[in-house]
Amino acid sequence: MHEATWLVWIPLLPLLGAAAAGAVHFLALRSRARGADATGGASGAGGAWIAIAAIGASFLLGLRGFLALRGEHAEALRSPTWDWIDVGGWSVGVSVVLDRLSSVMTLVVTGVGLLIHVYAAGYMKGDPGYAKFFAFLNLFVAMMLLLVLSSSLPGLFVGWEGVGLCSYLLIGFWYAKGWPAEAAQKAFVVNRVGDAAFLLGMFLLAGLFDTLDLSSLNAAVEGAVRDGHGPQLALAAFLLFGGACGKSAQIPLFVWLPDAMAGPTPVSALIHAATMVTSGIYLVVRLNPLFAASPELLFFIGLVGALTALVAGTTALVQRDLKKILAYSTVSQLGYMFLALGAGAWASAIFHLVTHAFFKALLFLGAGSVIHGMRDEQDVHRMGGLRRHMPRTFWTFTLGAAALSGIVPLSGFFSKDEILFHAFERGGAYYLLWAVGIATAAVTALYAWRMVGLVFFGAERFDAREVHPHESPPLMTVPLVILALLATGGGLLGLPEVLHAPHLLHDWLHPVVERGDAILAAATGAVPVASGASAATEWLLLVLGAGIAFAFAHRGFHAHRQGTASDERFAARRPQAARLFGDAWGVDRGYAKWIVQPVKIGAFLVAVVVDQFAIDGLVNGAGNLARSLGQRVRRMADGSIASYGLWMGGVTAALALAWIWIG
């Protein structure tokens, strides 16, 4: 364990950046209020550069930490501990710990975050809240870094809530429109359900282990299992998984993520695709010994992930809003990551997390570029033929879609195939999860290429007199190109075993996950992951995955490159399926009917009956009682000294008599 005080600057720099950008925003507001609006929309431009500089510096520090970890072969770098809570023999210390897992997360958060910041500097140009936007964005990055770097669970939880807050602020950034504010509230409330579970899980762990330090917890799990605390551990892990379900938008708590698309597109790319929604996966991997201790729970996690992947994937098939397609796609891909966790393939989940951060951020930013060029049009049925107008966006978006659908040899192919391989390798009931996963892979290829076909090919289905699609400025396309390169080449981080190439990410994360692997192996009697099934099986699965991805991508592309006819045919032939997919298998409608509606009725009853009659009656009654008593008592005060004297003397005499009588 190496001491490194400079680590605290990784989350602190974006925090300071947020404060500075916020100050710029207030200065801009003041000068605007004074009417000195000569600069027009450019007021507050300084905020963007402050924010970009802050996250850039944070990225460089993260890189320095990564190189230090690699060079010294140290297990972790650690900043001095700050005693946050210290009461009655119970203490919680928080320090910044950069180990192998958090270094990967830090690089993803700051690296992809930096690109998105640069992109947003172009995308948000002219917005009246320009500097405020960057203040929120930087605050988000700071909280996300606290989440991945904290040494203890309460510190992690602060980051967890902080990113939730920033998500709320940024989804509702254009709150004046109305529906973004509602979407922000929905996201906040749904996340609250998961966070409550998280808290309960944390309390349970605190009670069991008397510590909430992450590395101590991980070290203590094995002993607790031996002492027969297995059921409590499973319950705690289940509750923490509930928190992960909320943050990472899994069944049944995924309904907030599609609505969260009300925020500006860079927000969707950064928070709702690349970073925040993956914190649930990070949490499980971080506490992998705890989760490994109960194989049944792991299977349940895999099941939830697989079902989420399929449900969200099929929903993405029929959406018409470009950002909604990507949102459901994100939910679906997060489902894949949980499927990987369920199979105990921790490193594979992180691998998919990384590649997904690349290609989904790319897709969102590409979608933002399209929306920007189309004057805020999001309906893919009213696009078409855009490849002639915005070539750079077209190429990069297509690469992203190819990576998402798992076309060889782009990054998505390797990470997704690895997950499916590990699910297959576990055997037994996991064959079912594998089957769901491979079906989802087909669906993914379909909707990814439907998107490409509808947006960039075919006839122009918009009014050319009103909308003049144009390529976005370099500030936006350069991040696209960089992300496209990463999405294409990201697979090099984890080449399949049969190719006899080193799996860089597996080797890198090995020290973090070996304890979980060992516990899982002991619990199930299974060989640790990646010990190698037969090479022939792996080849077969690779070819199968590649074939399915290619076949369905081909089909999705050719069915939709001509226009919307294919969508209409589907809706006409399979109306039930179209309706089912159209509103995400009715989950949202179910919530509206079984939870929101009863709560509203209950709230109405409480407001009318309980509040107006019982509570108001009680409060007003107390007031009225006091007043009528006062009306009677005021007669005592008649202003005559003789009567005051009578009262005083009378009462004194009465008290004296009473004292004599009792005493």
Partner: protein
């Protein structure tokens, strides 16, 4: 030949009753203050009578006289404050009649 204690107590009672009656019946603030003094002195007389009643030759009971001295001191202070109030009242209202001083009503 000494005055019996009962007589002293009866006198004190009569003085106290006169004080009470003056306090409640008179309207002149100065007379009301004098009535209060009368009640205090009735109490003093009671103290002294009781003190004499409990004393024996060679063993005088001093609690009563000491109490009396304290009461006189407090009464002097009370008279100073009371008369100051009377003067202040007169300056404000040109009267010392309690009938005209009822601002605290309602």
């Amino acid at each position: 030949m000494t005055v019996p204690t009962e007589h002293l107590l009866a006198l004190a009672g009569v003085l106290f009753s006169l004080g009470v009656a003056g306090f409640f019946l008179r309207r002149n603030l100065i007379v009301v203050l004098m009535s209060i003094e009368l009640m205090l002195n009735a109490a003093n007389l009671t103290f002294l009578a009781a003190s004499r009643h409990h004393s024996r030759v060679g063993a005088a009971d001093l609690q009563g006289p000491v109490f009396g001295i304290f009461v006189i001191a407090v009464a002097a202070a009370e008279a100073a404050v009371g008369l100051a109030l009377v003067i202040a009242l007169y300056r404000r209202k040109q009267t010392v009649s309690l009938d005209r001083v009822d601002e605290l009503r309602d």
